[in-house]
């Protein structure tokens, strides 16, 4: 039986490492002039293709289809919609085009008032798991655990989950920006990726979960418990006990 085959759009070296850790056959689709050597394993495939171009669907149909991939994913902002297009063309599971568009285009301006928070959740079959609530420090601009009172945290979680349900997000990661002012939670929008910056590491420290790995592997059946690192954290996501 051949290994399951995962197509990753717009990977960085770190994302590629996470993809290889899943033990599947990896196929990378990268923008032209992107690095190659840093991504591929011995048997990886790679294609330099402008996956934001209108011709990408044809590439998927003509080239990727012949590889019979099991999933197409991206954790890069530029790759989310193309990944949804690829899954649609290939008839694979994954977040749908409309959901990605709705979430991408639904980001309202953030109010200057109140606390601005990023709420990281993971949705599995419509069931939400809160991983972390983080806040940008007003002076250093660094993201840090928010440390919310339980009642506020519950309101935040309810607002975020409702927003994602309304958008139709059934699976995958979500980073939702909210503001909390005078006890009122306002949702400003959601990104369905965590990028490759500091945030996945911060979430790992708070939740003990390698969210990057989970984000890449969920279409292959990888569960959150498969991405739980040894040395679990104490506390809860909204308390945000960093380790």
């Amino acid at each position: 039986m051949r290994a399951r085959r995962l197509v990753v759009l717009g990977a960085t070296a770190g994302v590629a490492r996470a993809a290889h850790s899943l033990g599947c056959h990896t196929v990378f689709v990268q923008q032209p002039r992107s690095p190659v050597e840093a991504l591929v394993h011995d048997d990886s495939h790679l294609y330099s293709v402008d996956y934001t171009a209108a011709t990408f669907a044809e590439f998927v149909d003509r080239v990727l289809r012949s590889l019979a991939p099991d999933a197409v994913v991206s954790v890069a902002a530029s790759g989310l919609l193309p990944a949804a297009v690829a899954n649609s063309v290939l008839g694979l599971s994954g977040t749908g085009i409309e959901t990605v568009r709705r979430l991408r285009e639904g980001r309202g301006a953030v109010s200057a008032e109140g606390r601005e928070l990023d709420v990281v959740t993971f949705v599995t079959g419509g069931s939400h798991q809160l991983l972390a609530v983080v806040e940008r420090h007003p002076v250093t601009a660094r993201m840090a655990p928010a440390g919310l009172p339980p009642a506020v945290a519950a309101d935040v979680e309810e607002a975020v989950n409702g927003h994602l349900d309304e958008a139709g997000l059934r699976d995958g990661p979500a980073r939702t920006t909210v503001t909390v002012a005078d006890g009122e939670v306002r949702v400003h929008g959601t990104l369905t990726h965590l990028g490759d910056g500091d945030q996945p590491e911060l979430v790992r420290r708070i939740s003990g979960i390698d969210v990057q790995r989970w984000s890449l592997g969920w279409p292959l059946g990888v569960r959150g418990t498969d991405c739980l690192e040894t040395g679990t954290v104490s506390g809860t996501p909204h308390e945000g006990i960093a380790r």
Binding site: P32, V36, A38, V40, D43, S44, H45, S48, F59, L67
Partner: protein
């Protein structure tokens, strides 16, 4: 506007880098590279070159290669298809013919890849003496062979680097061998064994004219590779035999209809002073011959092949100048006993001008994979032919300690 070219590559990518320099004209051409996966070295060193479009495929998945190449040719204004590896020659020619691009077409490429079609063309044109040969598509074909004339060679019609070559002395041996081969795909031939020293002739052809040709003599049979074995070549810069080989080469290339490209021809020189055609490839020579030619003539035949196929001008170095030195190489296959190499301090006195090391040579079982699967190779120079041969002998003695 820059030329766009599709490079169909089955070499390790390092094949296109020489002394820190790229042999690919990356500043003049936008390359769309289709290459082997990392396990086969297809991307090693790639970061050093500005290759805008890269496709990495499984080395043996021909369907994926074709799909990727056709996609690139459909979507981009590619006007050239480049191939310098034996395995790439025919696919590249098929693409040129299908997309109406210049360079070696599929009919010509087939004559260079199929050893039966090749020998038929050479024989029909009277370009060279050809060993008696026949297609081998079933065991029954063995009955049509004249076994009174001695040893025969059974080999793949499209084999490369002396892989899938078998010697048999009797009908019974041949029948047993055929039981282990898949003869159903018109993939084998049988021919008379020729006892002779193998020479090679490497050419650059443009507009039907041979612009460069070099003759060399192997120091061993390429088909005889084995653990602990040795191989090499010495260039032949003068003499009547060289002239005869050059003339034979010209007749063969004309018979095969080549008007543009680089070639690597092999010919037997028998004890009766006869030249008997062995085979010819429509690509630059492999192994260590390109570095030897570069030391001898001052240009890279791989670079010339790429530039020629890209429609660019190219250098032939000092090919027209008289030589004050002669070069060759000696290479050692992995395995064997007493392997110790040559200390760098000894290089100068042995005439070694370049050492190429391939620590990953050989397979996991210690076997040699093909005729250019060298562990250590040494390019050697000398003031004259006799000294070169003597130095290569001494290097063999010293290498094995």
């Amino acid at each position: 506007m820059k030329t766009s070219a599709l490079l169909v590559n089955h070499h390790p990518y390092g094949h296109f880098r020489r002394a820190g320099r790229s042999l690919l004209p990356v500043s003049e051409v936008d390359f769309h590279l289709v290459t082997r996966n990392r396990a086969f070295g297809g991307v090693d060193g790639l970061a050093a070159d500005a290759i805008p479009y890269v496709t990495v495929c499984a080395a043996r998945d021909e369907q994926q290669w074709r799909i990727a190449c056709e996609w690139s040719l459909d979507m981009f204004p590619i006007t050239r298809v480049v191939a310098v590896h034996e395995r790439s020659v025919l696919p590249a020619a098929e693409l040129r013919s299908r997309f109406g691009l210049p360079g070696m077409d599929v009919e010509t490429a087939l004559r260079f890849r199929d050893k039966v079609a090749m020998k038929q063309a050479v024989h029909s044109a009277g370009a060279a003496r050809v060993p008696a040969f026949a297609e081998l598509n079933s065991v029954e074909d063995l009955a049509k062979v004249d076994w009174r004339t001695g040893r025969k060679v059974i080999k793949s019609r499209t084999g490369l680097a002396a892989q899938d070559v078998h010697m048999v002395d009797t009908y019974e041996q041949a029948a047993r061998l055929c039981g282990t081969l898949d003869l159903g795909g018109a993939g084998y031939e049988i021919e008379e064994f020729v006892d002779g020293r193998i020479h090679h002739c490497d050419s650059v052809v443009e507009n039907g004219e041979i612009r460069f040709a070099s003759v060399g003599r192997y120091i061993a049979d390429p088909a005889g590779y084995s653990p602990g074995g040795v191989f090499g070549t010495v260039l032949v810069l003068e003499g009547e035999l060289r002239e005869r080989i050059l003339r034979l080469n010209a007749r063969v290339l004309a018979a095969l209809g080549l008007t543009e490209g680089t070639t690597h021809l092999e010919v037997f020189h028998t004890a009766r002073d006869e030249l008997v055609f062995c085979e010819v490839a429509g690509r630059p020579p492999g192994g260590i011959i390109p570095p030897v030619l570069e030391w001898q003539y001052g240009f890279s035949i791989v670079e010339a092949a790429v530039r020629l196929q890209c429609g660019l001008d190219y250098s032939l170095g000092r090919a027209a100048d008289p030589a004050d030195a002669v070069f060759g190489f000696v290479a050692f296959y992995p395995g064997g006993e007493g392997t110790c190499g040559i200390a760098p301090l000894r290089h100068a006195s042995l005439g070694i001008v370049e050492h190429l090391s391939h620590p990953t040579a050989g397979d996991r079982d210690g076997a040699v994979r093909h005729s250019v699967d060298f562990r250590d190779s040494y390019v050697v120079g000398a003031p004259d032919h006799a000294t070169l041969v003597h130095r290569i002998d001494r290097i063999q003695d010293e290498y094995r300690g």
